[in-house]
Symmetry: C2
Subunit: 480 residues, 2 copies
């Protein structure tokens, strides 16, 4: 064949797009490196990575209880000096007890666990789900994963029977879905979310996308729902969740519920697909028994924000036993999720309870993060509301705002001359002028003729928001 080149590698990898860490992100890292080498020629002194939900890179502090337990798991010899831990370092007794319990369950965090995870942690997840939803959960159908991304990768691998296998994916979406479907050479069946209804799911739109795909010969197998939404932040009503389940049941689609932002909800409350499914089953005996649901969660987001540890899990409901065996085999090939991250999943689903020694601090830290996120979301939203040509719904959830922008014909022409989409052009100019990295809506998908960008609201302070406001005014003036 000759040497490897871009034209003879796997064409499906070549075709995959992943804007969250694409050109803008790479450029932002270059700028950061220039600044750290003392380059003073740039019009800003700090790069703000608002392109990715990476809480601890910005201001979010890890939860003390979690990290104290992890320190003991990494160096268990510390447990031989309880007096120093307690009197010298301020560790509470529940930290020590939890670490001992976890070490008993996993042996060493340096050893492989079972392929689907440490069994006792799966039991803790099941208890958490029971408490959250009011319905039982079975640890035998729970799989620990290296972040939710790895779980999505597993599930899409199983579903992709051929290039005709299709998966309904919300647009805009987190590009993990389109990128993985591209790598698998399966078919992405996009369905648009309704910006006019705060980015809710619209059943008629889903049905339309499904019917069109079927008519085109696509074997539609599954529907992805991201709730709360990424990049939209939308938090679905129980009614919307019910209607998706009902549709999936009728059409025999696997539901992939990406619920990694389940604790990042500002408006209304989170309705888990598992909980709503069980309610539907209770209300309609027999009717929804064959629904296949995979729900994903993660330690990366929420008030935990431990994405660098790469931990998560998925729960399967209603899957065929042989299919589950194939899933088990598939995850076995990569051996197991990082064990220390599995332990963080345990801590997330089973945090200190009222009355326990670490509860007060845990509660304070947790609420401080939650309130901080809400305040930053509102401040950013307020700034967007005052910008010319920018429209942005109220912050609902997740870690993102996804405003629409209206650009002039002159700006659109300027973008074209650079071979960029107008939103890419805008985001590139923003980065160059302010050091703030956001991702154009085209990286997530958007209705033709509309333009957006996604920004996290994780960065502290308002100075960076002021930079955006100033840039935007100058940009609009320049291309008027």
């Amino acid at each position: 064949m000759g040497r490897l080149n871009i034209n003879n590698i796997n064409p499906h990898v070549r075709a995959a797009e992943y804007a969250v860490r694409g050109e803008l992100a790479v450029k932002s890292e270059e700028l950061r490196a220039r600044l750290s080498k003392g380059d003073t020629s740039l019009p800003f002194d700090k790069v703000v990575s608002a392109n990715i939900g990476n809480p601890q890179q910005l201001d979010q502090k890890p939860i003390t209880f979690f990290r104290q337990v992890l320190s003991l798991l990494e160096y268990p010899n510390l447990l031989e000096k309880e007096d120093v831990l307690i009197n010298g370092l301020g560790y509470k007794t529940d930290v020590i007890e939890r670490a001992k319990w976890l070490l008993k369950q996993c042996g060493s965090v340096g050893a492989y666990s079972a392929s689907s995870g440490v069994y006792a942690i799966k039991e803790s997840i099941a208890k958490f789900l029971e408490k959250r939803d009011g319905f039982s959960a079975d640890p035998d159908h729970i799989y620990l994963s290296a972040g939710a991304s790895s779980g999505v990768n597993t599930l899409l691998h199983i579903l992709a029977e051929s290039d005709k296998s299709g998966v309904l994916v919300p647009i805009p979406q987190y590009p993990l879905y389109t990128a993985t479907l591209s790598v698998l050479d399966a078919t992405c069946v996009p369905y648009y979310l309704d910006e006019s209804k705060a980015w809710a799911t619209d059943l008629a739109t889903i049905r339309g996308a499904y019917d069109k795909a079927k008519a085109d010969g696509v074997d539609v197998r599954a529907i992805v729902v991201i709730n709360p939404g990424n990049p939209t932040g939308a938090s679905l009503s129980e009614e919307d969740v019910r209607s998706v389940i009902d549709f999936a049941s009728k059409e025999k689609l696997v539901i992939m519920a990406d619920e990694v932002y389940q604790t990042n909800v500002f408006i209304g409350k989170f309705h888990s697909f598992k909980g709503v499914l069980r309610k539907l089953q209770q209300e309609n005996p027999g009717k929804y028994d064959d629904v296949e649901l995979a729900s994903l969660h993660s330690i990366s987001k929420g008030m935990v924000g431990e994405c660098g540890h790469r931990g998560g899990y998925f729960e399967l409901v209603g899957f065929d036993a042989e299919v589950e065996a194939a899933i088990y085999k598939f995850v076995s090939i990569m051996l197991c999720a990082p064990v220390i991250a599995q332990c963080l999943v345990e801590l997330m689903v089973n945090p200190p309870q009222p009355g326990e020694p670490s509860f007060e601090l845990y509660d304070k830290e947790y609420n401080a993060v939650a309130n901080g996120l809400r305040e930053r979301a509102n401040a950013l939203h307020k700034a967007f509301e005052q910008m010319e040509g920018v429209e942005c719904g109220e912050p609902q959830g997740a870690m993102y705002l996804f405003p629409s922008i209206t650009l002039s014909q002159k700006a659109i022409e300027a973008a074209k001359s650079e071979n960029r989409t107008p939103d890419e052009f805008y985001c590139m100019r923003l980065l160059e002028a302010t050091g703030v990295c956001v991702i154009p809506g085209s990286g997530f998908g958007q209705k033709e003729g509309t333009l957006h960008f996604r920004t996290t609201f994780l960065a502290p302070g308002t100075e960076w928001v002021d930079r955006i406001t100033k840039f935007h005014k100058e940009f609009m003036d320049k291309y008027r």
Copy 2:
């Protein structure tokens, strides 16, 4: 389509086989669970997992320096109490310095790093490679991964242009390669290792396999070499490494050098592909400049044994820039390797040096693990030498012995009646009688008409070896 079932999922996932965590491993976990629930009906009181190289599940202790640093990375507030760390807990100053340095490089271990890893850690790896090989290495071509498995997965994804894309894989091999090629629907081109020459590579055999595949229309793209070998333990001579590089150069094949056992060498010394390639390039100016080499390493094996943390890296030499960009994009989709595992890579490649406070203990612990492995390998080998119908070469490297077994016609018939291969049958009876889990040779591939099994020599003591000896005698007597 109807609900998911084993016949309508991804046929390439269905076809993949991964014996290391297959039926025997699952059964061994069931037996372990029965024992821990107090079941006394089994003829043994402990399950020995010799099926997988999982050092810390057995006796191997983590290196103190490594874990002390990790404890500080997980809970950096400890660094505010240096006196307690030093006087109360016995931490040395180099532990504290290293933790501070790593925290400066990665911010928080709870934050995503760059997709290819923390840059300063890539620089440390480059320095380690320079020291190991005597030739320079470039951090820009080093990629941190979640264990070497994830690196192999990335590289095979890139190579697999179509179902005609072929990869030369040694037989016997670690089944990660065949399983991943199966999932990718690419072609495995097996080449047999020479058991009569201590499982060395044989160029004529490789050439034969290559020619046959070409004649069959396979587009052979790469050759995998596992050195030291898994499951064979074979440690290749420099001559063997040279001949593989020369062959790959002539045929324009990417070399995938799986070198995760590079410090587990008992006989001779380890010859890295990178080092030998650079020597060849020096000796033959211009001739080997276009060789494409990917070398993989891991924190999972060696005297580190931290497989549960899922850390590793690969270095690329001679790859096209656009191909590297595609690799970067591919790894970006899963965001980054676990950051705490990246930090363990740093500690592995840059351990305490003579004269530094932690060196003495590090050196002692490292050598204790190395000597323990050698002793256990020799004890197990000695036992195999005395068993009827078992042949096993001297332990050379890695963590495995791979003896051949000769079974009677009666045993072969008994296996057939259970729909098992004879080696599967033998291993299943061994597990049921002794609680010792080993993997049949058919899980790794073996020449037709030969039978083997792979066992790790990680388990401490000799009691479990005696169990195998006793079982073997009874098995041979029963099926005489």
